[in-house]
């Protein structure tokens, strides 16, 4: 059978489909997003984005209750949001198989923290499988559905960025259709978790974990590879691959189940090797858990924080470093940035000019914290901006500077609405800015409840954002085009001065949604006074000539949005001809 190149995320989608999953639901979040984007295109499935991970897991619980198999996807921090239903679903168990993909981001490539979801598995006592490459991602996802129904529990598949976004060859199989569920019968003893019932289910949960520990001790998901017994390494996920490359002779206990751990096999492995070490990244979950079984874990000096690589493991093992060329550390950094034509840019330019204190949120606009805009004071979690701005206000403010909360459309739907309800309820007089760019942009353009675009293009409706905000009780609601810089400046000045709560909705589509580019602009060198105001917009198309200090515009980058034209007081930014190809060649 031919094998195809799939990412870990695509393989998880394929595994769920082969297992007969009828439904997929999740909220986009790097590195989990492509899983549902793949699943939704497979045959005979229903898939949807939920406004947040808690809702997604609750929807999945309903699918499971109705007797169908369901895949739920989220990133690690999304699991914080979904934790509430998670802990109780561990008690209720399932009807149709319920598998949760949680994708962690060691190294924080695209996240605000580095939390290790394996701790959730142990905390909530929900079994967790941990594939190390795409082939295992498919196989383990199929197995997860079997285990979910066999042991009557939700089951996690945990990936990390180097599993989710690594591609390798995978053998795909046919879909195994699941039989129609038997007739539905109410079962409050299992599903109504009020104290009397929950106490009984708590005992069921304990018994289940005992059974699953015995299963882990015999399952092929965990695997001993005995080679040189002077060093035995316990590892899981992509770290297994790093270990095999770095130390090919070492004995390995590869854990395909992060929870529950195979206690007997860990003891036997420890007895078989002279020295047992654990290789894991960003957390010491395995080492702590193994030590708690009374097994000696020798020190192994891999870095505590961030991602591992074969090199980090070779270093920890005391192997010589490879010969390398000299690194150049004099280079300027290249941070990510807002795209040319981004509708967020003028808003942050106004924040900076008006010296506003900005409680921020999560999305592309978080890049407004970076120079030269440098106009964001906080970024904590999805929806935090609104609550934090209210908190600053009731603490008496932070001096004379106005405080503004800034949040994106999808983030507002995810976790901002309850914050706004609080601000209205408790009499806030602050200013809340919603950046409505008509899409969930940072994760790669997913639909959301605000724009009404659904994952499988089923009919839906746009959410009337201004109407919702008014219905919550905000009387001052302004909708403004952020590409009109004078209007942005004016509305921000008026609303921060107002003595009552106001919401400004800046509405313009993400620059990457705008297919028709305008003609690019150029700088009239004679008119340019080197004032640098246009450069402070932080547009990647605009720079300052090193020698003359005058501004220049890279026509190959400029999309003709005209934001810079509006900030130039000397009319030095003018239209040029149509864009020519790079390097002048054609």
């Amino acid at each position: 059978m031919t094998r195809i190149l799939l990412s870990g995320n695509e393989a998880i989608a394929q595994g769920a489909w082969e297992a007969g999953a009828a439904v997929g639901v999740g909220y986009p979040g790097t590195p989990s997003t492509e899983t549902l984007e793949r699943f939704c295109k497979l045959q005979d499935v229903y898939a949807e984005w939920a406004p947040n991970e808690k809702v997604a897991l609750e929807v999945a619980a309903g699918v499971s209750l109705a007797g169908k198999r369901v895949l739920v996807t989220m990133k690690h921090v999304g699991l914080n949001v979904a934790a509430d239903p998670l802990f109780t679903l561990a008690y209720t168990g399932v009807r149709g198989g319920l598998v949760i993909l949680v994708a962690d981001d060691p190294g924080m490539h695209s996240s605000q923290n580095e939390q290790d979801s394996r701790n959730y598995a142990a905390f909530a006592r929900v079994p967790m499988l941990e594939p190390s490459d795409s082939a295992e991602a498919l196989e383990f996802t199929r197995e997860a559905f079997e285990l979910s129904e066999r042991f009557d529990t939700p089951v996690f598949v945990r990936s990390t960025v180097r599993v989710s976004h690594a591609k390798s060859l995978v053998k795909t199989g046919a879909r195994v259709e699941q039989a129609e569920p038997s007739a539905y019968r109410s079962n409050p003893a299992k599903w109504v978790m009020m104290p009397a019932m929950a106490k009984v289910r708590r005992a069921v949960l304990d018994e289940r974990i005992t059974e699953m520990t015995a299963f882990a001790d015999t399952s092929e998901l965990n695997r001993e590879e005995i080679r040189d017994i002077s060093l035995g390494i316990v590892c899981a996920g992509v770290n297994y691959e790093h270990v095999r490359e770095a130390l090919p002779d070492a004995s390995v206990l590869k854990l395909g189940m992060a929870f529950p751990l195979p206690a007997q096999r860990l003891r036997a492995f420890s007895a078989n090797v002279d020295r047992l070490v654990v290789v894991e990244e960003a957390d010491d979950y395995l080492a702590r858990s193994i030590r708690s079984l009374g097994i000696d874990v020798s020190p192994f000096a891999v870095p505590r924080a961030g991602e591992l690589s074969p090199g980090a493991i070779r270093r920890a093992a005391g192997l010589p470093e490879p010969e390398t060329r000299e690194a150049d550390d004099s280079l300027p950094p290249r941070p990510p940035l807002m795209c040319p034509g981004c509708p967020h840019r003028p808003v942050f330019d106004a924040f900076r000019k008006q010296r506003v204190v900005v409680t921020g949120d999560i999305g592309c606009y978080t890049l407004g914290a970076l120079k030269p805009l440098a106009a964001m004071d906080t970024c904590v979690d999805m929806g935090a901006s609104i609550g934090m701005a209210h908190g600053v206000e009731i603490a008496g403010g932070v001096g004379e500077r106005p405080v503004v909360a800034v949040i994106g459309d999808s983030t507002f739907a995810h976790s901002g609405i309850t914050g706004l309800v609080n601000s209205v309820y408790n009499g806030s007089t602050g200013t809340i800015v919603i950046l409505d760019n008509r899409i969930t942009a940072m994760t790669g353009h997913q639909g959301n409840p605000i724009n009404g675009i659904t994952l499988q293009n089923r009919p839906s409706r746009e959410l009337d954002l201004a109407g919702l905000v008014r219905a919550i009780g905000v009387e001052r609601v302004r909708v403004v085009d952020p590409h009109d810089l004078a209007a942005v400046d004016e509305v921000l000045r008026e609303e921060t001065a107002a003595e009552e709560l106001s919401v400004i909705i800046f509405r313009a589509p993400c620059a990457l949604l705008v297919r028709e580019k305008g003609d690019p602009y150029a700088v009239d060198e004679d008119a340019c006074t080197k004032c640098g105001v246009c450069v402070k917009l932080g547009c990647p198309a605009i720079g300052r000539d090193e020698a003359t200090r005058k501004a220049f515009i890279d026509v190959s980058v400029c999309v003709g949005c005209g934001q810079c034209v509006q900030v130039c007081r000397y009319d030095a930014i003018v239209h040029t001809g149509p864009a020519c190809d790079l390097g002048g060649a054609s």
Partner: protein, 196 residues
């Protein structure tokens, strides 16, 4: 064969991910094991990005370390210098000499050191004017395929396999331009040119 490691680096949005996908598919079509590792999300917004492709009879880790890369393909010159230390002393450097100024440089908060091209030439880099060749091929967006053409000269894969994979992977309307781009990249590299 033992494992070969290729690193593609550039600026988010330059097409490194598609190029890496082509290479991985060529390796797979040639009967080898292959792994590819990339990063999506925030860094893709114009940040510094790299993608690693490893292939051979057996491939374990999808990532790599300094001193372990056999072929570095840089889509941009500053990013080439940023990753030179990843390349084995005997490894190969293919560099598109185009510079894309990082924002801190555009705003005057940082400067690019002078003489990057000389530094790379000292390291034995081969310069491929991928953007200009792409325009010659008929599509400025085919610079990534120009670079794959250049890379292909040092890899044990047949030209036919490359062409089949490219034809399947790029938008139908752009197949001709991409074939031309691939050929121009090969020629530029076969000349071993360091013309600039």
């Amino acid at each position: 064969m033992s494992t070969t490691t290729v690193m593609l680096c550039g600026v988010g949005g330059q097409g490194t991910i598609l190029a890496a996908d082509l290479l991985a598919k060529v390796a797979a079509a040639s009967g080898l094991e292959v792994k590819l590792s990339e990063v999506h999300g925030m860094s893709q917004r114009g940040g510094s990005v790299d993608t690693v492709v490893k292939f051979g009879d057996e491939v374990f880790s999808p990532v790599t370390d300094p001193g372990m890369v056999d072929h570095l393909v840089a889509f941009e010159i500053i990013e080439a210098v940023r990753r030179v230390h990843y390349v084995k002393p005997e490894g190969r450097l293919l560099v598109n000499p185009r510079a894309i100024q990082p924002l801190p440089v555009l705003t005057g908060d940082a400067a690019v050191p002078h003489g990057l091209q000389a530094v790379l030439a000292d390291e034995g880099a081969i310069f491929i004017d991928a953007d200009i060749l792409a325009c010659q091929a008929g599509s400025p967006k085919s610079a990534n395929v120009v670079l794959m053409g250049a890379l292909s000269t040092g890899l044990p894969f047949s030209e036919d396999t490359w062409r089949e994979v490219i034809a399947r992977r790029v938008p139908p309307k752009t197949v001709d331009a991409n074939m031309a781009a691939f050929a121009l990249g090969r020629q530029a590299c076969e000349r071993g040119s360091c013309e600039l």
